[in-house]
Each structure stands twice: as C-alpha cells, then as structure tokens.
C-alpha cells in the first residue's frame, strides 16, 4: 500500500537570475515499509524534493501537484496541521550534521525537544527517552553524551545524533538527505548499517549520490537528472540492467566500475530547454531527442525509464 504518493510534483522558486525549476513533474510512490533511494548529482534538485515533502522551503517557493501522505494531501494542510506531522509522522535527517545541529544547545536537549512536543512527556521521561534513543544509535555512554554539545562529537557521532533525533518520535517515514556524505569510509559503513537496522519497520526516502550506500539499504532506486526522474526500478535492476543512458553513464563513471566519464556537464535548472534533458551528453542521442521530451514508460516488472529509445508511443 502506498504511504506517500507524489503526483506531478513541481517545485519552482524565483532567484535573481531567473526561476529555478528545481523539481519538475515528479511522480513517486513510497510504499509502507518501502525504502526508496533517490540518486542524483549535485544540483539535480534532490534536496529540494526532500524539503518540499516536508514543506520546509522558503515561502516564495511555488509547489504544484499532489503530495498525498496516508490519504491526505500535505500541500493542502494548514501550517499548523503540517507542523504536527513534521517530526512525528515524517522525520527528516538533514544534510551535514555539523551545521544541522544547533551549536549552543546540548545534544540531549535537541533530541528531547521533539519528544516533549509530540509525545507530551515531562522533562524526566523525555530525558530517559533521549538516553534510550542515543543507546539505540549505539552511542557509547549515552547518559554522559546527552549532556554534551555537538562540537564534542566526531562527524560519525553527530550523524548518529541526527538519526536518533529523527527516530525520537517513532515516525512512519524518514527522509534522509545525504546521511553518509562527508564521512570517512570506515564510519560510513557503520552508519549505513545503522540506518538499515533502524528503518526495518519504517519507510524511507534515502537521498544520496552514493550508489553503494543506496544499494545496501533501498529496495527501489529512483535516478534523478536535472529536476526529473529518468529511471525507477528495483535496486538490483538498476545495478545489473540500467536502461537509461544517464544511469549507465553514471555507473560507468564510478571509480570501481571503470571511471569512464560522461562528457559535458549537468544543465542549469534555470531555463531548461525542451526535449530530453540528457540529450547533449548522450551517446545514443538522435535528432528527435532534441525536440521531443520523453515520458516515463514502464518496461515491465516495475522498471520505468524516461528515454525515447523506449518511448515509441
């Protein structure tokens, strides 16, 4: 059953240089207990997508489409109703734990905040819960650590705090934005395992550019390029049988898969041309690609691709 269903989601916001079309017509389904990996490179709009689900973008952002969570369209809720969902129903792990934790508040208090707010616990009960959460993310001597400040934690430990904070109110859905970026490799694997463990009974949207991490955690993977999804499939299928030229190129450019680059660079999200967005970098490009914008087509078995090679309708 679908837990979160994005339909024709568009997120645009004005800047001095023009309107940034960060997210353009995205349809995405997250099932109950499903883990979807959202893969994309810098500036493809994946963080904006995550924030727009939580409605945490600046007020001048224009969001269109539907964003249905448990039968309710989040975009139509009042700010107060939305606030009650944040942290409680849907929790978010923001990018970069160093800047995402408040430097002048104790780690324990930052976690307790959400617990007290959503679960109405008193100070002592909340504190117990905090220690429990810190222990759940395997932070050693949690009682002591709860009273420390973020700068006393290492990068990996801060990431654990972010996870504990997200888990604090037992949310149904977690949106994790690049939780492994910037971590050293030995620590990264620990975080990935931890995330896998704590999301066993939950749904998750895992936003990352790290394919290995996504492969470890997610059942399905959505590949995003220049503000739209270009491929969506089971994790295995993405790795073994990528169909979109971008996905293929992306995989091949990984250092452990041959380091074969894709030529050119990602387009800017301002003033995107018609036609296929990957067209200028694509080796399979044809004349039609320049004019016709391809639609998502299903190749069977839950494998969707946005490419004219397959879109022969």
């Amino acid at each position: 059953m679908s837990l979160l269903k994005l339909t024709h989601l568009k997120v645009h916001f004005p800047t001095q240089d023009g309107i940034v079309k960060a997210v353009n017509t995205i349809d995405l389904d997250i099932e109950e207990n499903g883990k979807v990996g959202l893969i994309g490179e810098t500036g493809c709009g994946k963080t904006v997508l995550g924030l727009s689900i939580m409605r945490l973008l600046q007020p001048d952002t224009r969001i269109k489409g539907e964003n249905v969570y448990k039968g309710r369209d989040l975009l139509k809720l009042s700010e107060e109703e939305m606030r009650k969902i944040r942290g409680k129903e849907i929790a978010m792990i923001l990018q970069n734990p160093t800047t995402s934790l408040n430097p002048v508040l104790k780690v324990g208090d930052q976690i307790a905040e959400a617990i007290r707010l959503h679960q109405g616990l008193d100070k002592r009960a909340a504190k117990e819960k905090v220690v429990e959460m810190l222990a759940a993310v395997k932070i050693p001597s949690p009682e002591k650590r709860a009273n420390e400040y973020p700068h006393e934690f290492s990068g990996g430990m801060r990431e654990r705090v972010m996870i504990a904070m997200a888990l604090a109110c037992n949310p149904t859905l977690i949106i994790a934005d690049e939780p492994t970026t910037g971590l050293d490799i030995t620590i990264k694997m620990q975080i990935v395992r931890l995330m896998k463990e704590v999301t066993k009974q939950r749904s998750m949207l895992f936003i990352t550019h790290d394919l290995d991490a996504a492969a470890e955690i997610c059942d399905n993977i959505a590949v995003m390029y220049a503000g739209e999804l270009v491929e969506y499939a089971k994790t295995e299928a993405i790795f073994k049988n990528p169909r979109h030229p971008y996905t293929q190129g992306f995989l091949n450019s990984l250092p452990n898969r041959g380091l074969k680059p894709i030529r050119g660079m990602s387009p800017s999200l301002i003033g995107i041309p018609n036609g296929c967005r990957f067209y200028p970098r694509c080796d399979h490009a044809e004349a039609a690609c320049k004019i016709q914008h391809p639609e998502m087509v299903e190749l069977g078995n839950g494998h969707f691709v946005r490419c004219l090679q397959y879109d022969r309708s």
Binding site: F13, Q16, V20, G40, G43, G45, I207
Partner: protein, 273 residues
C-alpha cells in the same frame, strides 16, 4: 531596485554638498567673517537667515561650514581606513604570531574610549582642523581593522591565495593583486560609514567648543546659537539651519552606505541539492 534609487538620491545630495563646499565663495552673498550688520537680525531680504550675535550673515556662514564638515569626514575616514586596511590585511594575511599580537592589541585598543581621549588630547593641540581630523582617524582605525582582518582571514582560507603563493609570488604582490581587490567593496562601505561618523564627530567637537576657530563649522554655529541665547529667544533661523544641514548630509551619506552594504552582503543562499 529600491536600493538603487536610495543610492542615487544619496549620491545626488552628496554631490550637491560637495559643489556647495567647493564653490562656497561664489555662492555666498557676504563674507562670512565680516561683521556687516546689526546683530541678531531676523531673516529679511538682505539676509536670508538673519545675522548672528556678532552681526555676521548666518546664511554665508552656513555655506562655508559645509567645507569643514566634509573635509573632516573625508580626511578622518581616509586616515583611519588606510591604517585599518593595512593593519587588518597584514594581520589576516600573515596569521600566526603577528596576527595574534595584532588581534590582542586591537582588542585592548578597542576598550579605550576614543572620544574622551580625543577630548583630553584636544587640550594640548592648537585646534586646527587638519590636525583634529587626522587625530580622529588615528584613534579610530582599530574596529575597522578587525573587520578587515576577519575578511582577509576568510579569504586566505580560499585556496587561490595558497596557490598563488605556491606559484612563487611575493607577499606584497599577493596582497595588492589578490587580496585588496576582493576586500575593496567592504573597504568602500566602511569608508562611507566612517566618513559619516567623523562628520558627526567633527560637528560635535565644534559644538563642545573644540573646533578650529579659524574655520567656520556647523558645530560652532550650533554652539554659538545655543550659548548666546538663540535657543531661549526662539531664534529658530539661527539654530536650526546648521543642525538640519548636518542631519541632512548625514542621512545622505547613510543612504549611500546602506545601499552599498546591501549590494555586497552575500545574498541569502538558496538550497538546490
């Protein structure tokens, strides 16, 4: 858009004041020093703003007063900004022990109140405008140099400074060619605000009776009107014009400064993954 307009207005007013200052002799109907008429005259056909207690033409004095104020602001700002830029750049660029020493020294200098010190010193100095404005500049560079230092420091963290050094460029070259152009906008903004500050202070000194007696300045005019009873007698044409002039000038400088500042402040960054 709005800021561009305020900037233009501010600049226009400033230019007008400068023209008044430069061409004062051509604009004044009377010699501002000369005692021509009966004292304490009300505004009339001959004297737009009447005459003061000595019988000098207030309007002419007002026009001449522009010079002193603008000069004090400009010279004071020039001195303090030059010293501040130099010290701040050296401190931020070299870092290490030099920086630590300079930073500590500035911390300490900043706790010494400049204006009371200026008053103490003014007892010894024969009041002359150039001396006073240079002295104000010398006393006032510390806070500014701290701002420049932190800017240079964050610039030095950018690797382009490192890579030019790795290329074998000399330090003075790097400072002149790579650091200065990058801090210049900040320097300009601070210059404008410093000039405003020194103008107000210059007029303030005049008001306290510490101005250059050989120059006409608005502060002395206010002081004169205030102490000679212009206030109690309700002679607004004597008291108001110099005060309004400094207020008007200061607002103009403010407009320029804040519009500049808006321009150089890093825009709030938008989030695109």
């Amino acid at each position: 858009m709005l800021r561009k307009k305020t900037f233009a207005i501010g600049i226009c007013i400033l230019v007008a004041f400068s023209i008044i200052a430069i061409f004062s002799p051509l604009l004044t109907p009377y010699d501002p020093y000369k005692i021509i008429e009966t004292p304490l005259e009300k505004p009339n056909k001959n004297h737009v703003l009447g005459t003061n207690a000595l019988g000098q033409d207030i309007f002419s004095r007002l026009i001449y007063g522009t010079r002193a104020t603008l000069l004090i602001g400009f010279i004071g700002a020039l001195v303090s900004i030059s010293i501040g830029t130099f010290v701040g750049t050296v401190s931020g660029y070299y870092g290490g022990k030099i920086d630590e020493f300079i930073t500590r020294a500035i911390d300490i200098i900043m706790t010494i109140p400049m204006f009371p010190l200026l008053l103490v010193l003014s007892i010894f100095l024969t009041p002359n405008m150039l001396g006073i404005s240079v002295l104000m500049g010398i006393l006032g560079w510390a806070g500014f140099s701290r701002i420049i230092r932190s800017q240079v420091l964050s610039l030095s963290e950018y690797n382009f400074i490192y890579s030019v050094r790795a290329m074998g460029a000399r330090d003075p070259y790097i400072m002149a060619k790579h650091i200065l152009p990058n801090i210049l906008p900040l320097v300009v903004v601070k210059f404008v605000f410093a000039a405003q500050n020194y103008m107000l202070m210059g007029v303030g000194l005049g008001f306290l009776g510490l101005g250059d007696p050989s120059m006409i300045d608005w502060g002395q005019m206010i002081n004169c009107a205030y102490t000679n009873g212009g206030f109690a007698l309700g002679m607004w044409w004597w008291l108001l014009p110099p005060g309004l002039s400094i207020a008007f000038l200061s607002i103009a400088v403010s407009l320029v400064g804040y519009s500049f500042e808006d321009e150089i402040n890093p825009r709030l960054r938008r989030m695109v993954s």
